[in-house]
Amino acid sequence: MNRLWKEFSKGLWKDLPPFKIVLGLCPVLAVTKTAYNGLGMGLAVIFVLTLSNLLVSLLRKAIPAKVRIACFIVVAASLVVCVELLMQAYAYPLYLQLGIFVPLIVVNCIILGRAEAFASKNPTHLAVADGLGMGIGFALSLTFLGSVREMFGYGTWFGMELAGDWYEPFAFMIEAPGAFVCLGLVLAGMNALTNWQRRTRGLEAIEGPIHDCKTCGLCATKPRI
C-alpha cells in the first residue's frame, strides 16, 4: 500500500509533469489558452495515461523487445482515438478547441515515457498508480496554467467574468509567445520555491533544480534491432 501511494503521489508534486519533469510541452503550451481547455486536455491525458500504463504493464511480458516501441505506440494511439471519438460524441466544442492536439496526445512523451520507463518494468497495480498520479498531476498543471493565461488573457476564469470592463485583456498571454514565457516563469517560480525550501532546511540553493528532459528515459533508449 505504501508503495502504491508512493508511486501515485510522486506525480502530484515530486515528479510533477510538466513543471518538475519538463515533458509533454506541446499540449501544455498549445491548449492552455483557457482553464477549461487545460482541464479537458488533462482529463484526456489521465484517461490515456492510466489505461496505457495498465495495458502496457499487462502486455509487458508478451511484447518482443524489437517491436516494443511500435506496440506501446499502438496501445497509446488506440486509446487516443477512443478519447477522440468520445470527445467528439460528448464534448464537441472542446474537440473543436483542442483540434489537432488530441491526436498528438499519442506522441506526448509522457505517455510513451511512462510506458517505457515505468509500466513496462512494473506490476500492473503500480503502473496504474503511476499513470493515475502522473495524469492527475498533468491535468492539475494544465488547469493551473490555463487559469493563469485565461485570467490575464481574457480576464475570465472558466468563462466567468472576473474583472470589470476596465480590464484590458492582455492578449500576449493567449498567443504562442505568452505560452512560452508563462511556462518559463512558472518553472522559474518552481525553482525559486524549491530553493527556498532547501534554504529553510539549511541546504544550499542549487542551480536549476528542475529536471531537464531526462526522466522519460527515451533519450537513452534505442530500439534494438
Binding site: V80, V81, C109, P177, G208
Partner: protein, 191 residues
Amino acid sequence: MDYFTLVIAAIFVNNIVLAQYLGNCPFIGTSKESGVAIGMGLAVVFVATMAAAITWCVQRFLLVPFDLAYLQTITFILVIASLVQFVEMFLKKAVPPLYKSLGIFLPLITTNCAVLGIAIICQREEYTLLQTIIFSIASGAGFMLALVVLASIRERLDLARVPTSLRGTPLALIMAGLMSLAFFAFKGMAS
C-alpha cells in the same frame, strides 16, 4: 497556392514550433548545444518528409477508400514509428557515417509530435503529394531554424548572470517566447 508561399508560410509564418506549438519537447530538450541542434534538425527534416509522403499515400489509398478516416492517428503513428526504426536500420547498414551523426536522434523522433503534426496538417489542408512533400521539408526546416537559433542563444545564456531560479529550462522557455514574438512579425506575409 503557389509553392513559394507554401514554403515561406511553413518556415516563418506558421513556424511549426513557435506558432503551432509542435515539437516542443525536443525543442527545449536538444537545444543546449548548436551541434546537437543541427543534428536533430536534419533528422527531423528527413523523417518528417518521408513520413508525410508515406502517410499521404496511406490516407489516400487506404483510409479514404475504406472510409476509415477516424483511424488516421493510429495508422499514422504506427507508420512513423516503423519508419523511424527502419530508417535507423537502413542508415546503419547503408550509410554508416550518416548514421553516426544522425542516428542518435532518430529514436527521439518517434515522440516528436512535429512529425506526426506535419503529417496530420497535410491531410487537414488536403495537400497534393507534391505540396505535402514541399510543406514537410519547409516545416522541418522551420523546426531546425528555431532549434538552431535557440541553441545558439542558450550557449551564450549559459554564461550570463541570471537569477538562479531562471537558469536553464525556464530561461530557455522565455527565450523561445521572445523568438516566437519575433516570428509574429511574419504574420500576414503569407497564409
